[in-house]
């Protein structure tokens, strides 16, 4: 049987798909280096828009938004990773309990619920309990929606680690806590890092939920960019978008590489 590569038109379709996916990103990246103020006409290579991002009239606004985005992403990713690890331990090491399947579904469901629904629901929830929208509400929302993203790589890693390592540790006089800290945690490492990076990037990126629960005056980088674009697209937006793209690619690649390395260095499964 011939492989899919030999189907007629395979090459053409592939190229079209890749173009649709990446051409807009390329345009943004290329035009971020445009010397002209126009976003459609090329005026030569320049770094002026990158300079503008850091020193221009919008620099302070973007700086504050970036600070918010990064601190929220750091805290949200860290807490989500801890919660997801606890969930993964309960699901994979806790044995089958009543409602196991339902719990599994509940952990992963947020990945499939339309984000706008979550956004509205979260906003209603906060206003019902009387929490004023601002930094805190954004942080809480981010922690929540990051959990399933952190959970996936952690749970995948954990289910690949056979319980006999912990048993061997217990057999060699380690307490449950020692077996966890000295054996399971190091073996779980790549999964934890990978889960944290994924959660971080998801938080950094988020627009819809953030926009609903942030309240007036509070901005994260995506909402600041959106606010700025509403007054017309300027090349500095392209520069800032390109920077974010770079950070995202870096983190996703790191997450992937760490997972790979973990898989090859420690053969934890026969």
């Amino acid at each position: 049987m011939k492989g899919v590569r030999h189907y007629p038109g395979f090459l053409g379709i592939t190229i079209v798909c890749l173009m649709v996916l990446y051409f807009p990103l390329m345009v943004v990246a290329v035009y971020s280096f445009n010397a002209s103020t126009s976003i459609t006409a090329w005026g030569g290579f320049s770094l002026r828009w990158y300079v503008d991002v850091f020193t221009g009239p919008e620099a302070e606004r973007f700086g504050l938004a970036t600070w918010n985005s990064i601190t929220i992403a750091l805290i949200a990713a860290s807490l989500a990773t801890i919660i997801a690890t606890a969930a993964a331990l309960a699901m994979i090491r806790g044995g089958r309990f009543r409602g196991w399947k339902a719990t599994y579904g509940l952990i992963n469901l947020p990945l499939m619920v339309p984000e706008i629904v979550v956004a509205v629901a979260t906003l209603i929830f906060f206003s019902t309990i009387g929490l004023r929208t601002g930094y805190l509400t954004v942080l809480l929302a981010h922690i929540t929606f990051c959990i399933p993203f952190a959970y996936l790589p952690i749970a995948a890693r954990l289910s690949g680690i056979e319980p006999r390592y912990e048993q061997a540790a217990r057999d060699l006089y380690a307490t449950q806590a020692q077996a966890f800290r000295l054996i399971l945690l190091p073996l779980l490492g790549p999964g934890l890092v990978s889960g944290w990076l994924l959660a971080f990037i998801i938080s950094l990126d988020d627009f819809i939920i953030t926009n609903f629960v942030k309240g007036a005056g509070m901005e994260t980088l995506p909402t600041a960019i959106f606010g700025s674009v509403k007054q017309g697209i300027k090349p500095n937006i392209m520069a800032i978008s390109t920077l974010m793209l770079g950070v995202s690619v870096l983190f996703v690649s790191l997450s992937y590489l760490i997972n790979q390395r973990g898989r090859s260095s420690a053969s934890i499964k026969e």
Binding site: E162, R164, Y165, Q167, A168, A169, R170, D171, L172, Y173, A174, T175, Q176, Q178, I183, P186, L187, S265, A266, S267, I268, E270
Partner: protein
């Protein structure tokens, strides 16, 4: 003789499934004791219960007279060599071996020294800074052994530790394990499904099947005087012939073979009626004045031995082993031969 481990009426149930039906056995201190049986016989469950990884449903586990059944694994002075070694992949060989000592709060200098001695014992001193993944299967096995011996357990539990090794290595390790047991004076409790392993190393063997102990004895005991059909068939090869017992007297029994021929055989305890007669294939010789008549059906060349597949008068298949000496005359398939039973070769089994 001091008893190291005493299992009293151990029952293990998983929901509706019963893995152990009231097992009782005593393991002498400073001995090599083997639990032998096919997979699913409950031998590993019993081992894991002693280690503390499985809870006991009913019964008692005593370690030098003290009940350990309710203790967490880290409070039981026994260590395990796991089937696939379970070496910690993120630690060096030395750190693996020293782990138990570290958990027992032995000071760093002492534990380095002791771990080093253990690695010397298993001839791996040169590899102490390697990671487990850089070792061969045989080397990993030795590290697992050193790791489990380092904290000087009262009993060492070995869960089929040789099954992942190739044949030559396995044979060498058998001798070494037995030597190691004698050198350290630690009681070894070894679990295996390989009867040859069990026979070559053990002081005593408990043959298990379907969650019950079928027989406990020395290698010679269980091979020479199997107490029932299962043990006779599981340990080594044997010929089973259905016979009618007509008379029982003083450890002997008169039986009638399917051919109608009468025979007197040894019998520990027998009742009249239908029973199985066990005759080991190597306890029979070809002789013109032999008491059994048979037709050779096939000759299997096995190197040091020949196996003759024959059929007795009366239709029972019967195999015979003959040493492959220069002077051995091999009968052609189809020829009539007579087989002579050695003294005591025929044993009546009580089921």
């Amino acid at each position: 003789m001091e008893v190291a481990v005493s299992i009293r009426n151990a029952v293990k149930r998983y929901g509706a499934v019963t893995a152990l039906h009231g097992v009782s056995l005593d393991i002498a201190d400073n001995s090599f004791f083997t639990l032998l049986g096919p997979s699913g016989c409950g031998k590993t469950t019993l081992l894991r219960m002693i280690a503390g990884f499985e809870e006991i449903t009913e019964g008692e586990i005593l370690l030098f007279g003290k009940s350990i059944a309710s203790l967490e694994p880290n409070f039981r002075p026994v260590n395990t060599v796991f089937q696939n070694y379970a070496l910690f992949p993120h630690m060096t060989v030395l750190d693996n071996v020293a782990f138990g000592l570290k958990m027992k709060n032995v000071d760093p200098a002492t534990r380095r020294k002791r771990a080093g001695e253990m690695l010397e014992l298993v001839h791996l001193s040169a590899l102490s800074e390697r990671m487990p993944t850089q070792l061969s299967g045989g080397q990993q096995q030795r590290v697992a052994l050193a790791r489990a011996l380092a904290p000087q357990p009262k009993v060492l539990l070995l869960d089929e530790p040789l099954s992942a090794l190739d044949l030559k290595l396995r044979q060498a390790m058998r001798v070494e394990l037995k030597q190691m047991q004698e050198e350290t004076g630690i009681t070894f409790l070894f679990v295996t499904h390989d009867q040859e392993e069990a026979l070559t190393m053990s002081d005593r063997i408990a043959v298990m099947s379907e969650g019950r102990v079928q027989q406990i004895g020395s290698a010679r005991d269980i091979y020479e005087t199997p107490s029932n059909r299962f043990v006779a068939q599981f340990i080594g090869q044997t010929n089973l012939i259905e016979v009618d017992v007509t008379r029982v007297h003083k450890g002997k029994a008169d039986v009638v073979l399917p051919s109608g021929q009468g025979l007197t055989c040894s019998a520990a305890a027998a009742s009249l009626g239908r029973h199985a007669l066990s005759i080991r294939p190597e306890r029979v010789t070809i002789a013109t004045r032999g008491e059994l008549k048979a037709v050779v059906e096939r000759v299997v060349y096995m190197g040091s031995e020949l196996q003759l597949l024959t059929r007795l008068d009366g239709g029972t298949a019967f195999s015979v082993r003959v040493q492959n000496a220069v002077r051995t005359e091999v009968p052609e398939p189809g020829t009539q031969i007579r087989l002579k039973l050695e003294e005591g070769a025929a044993r009546l089994l009580t089921d």
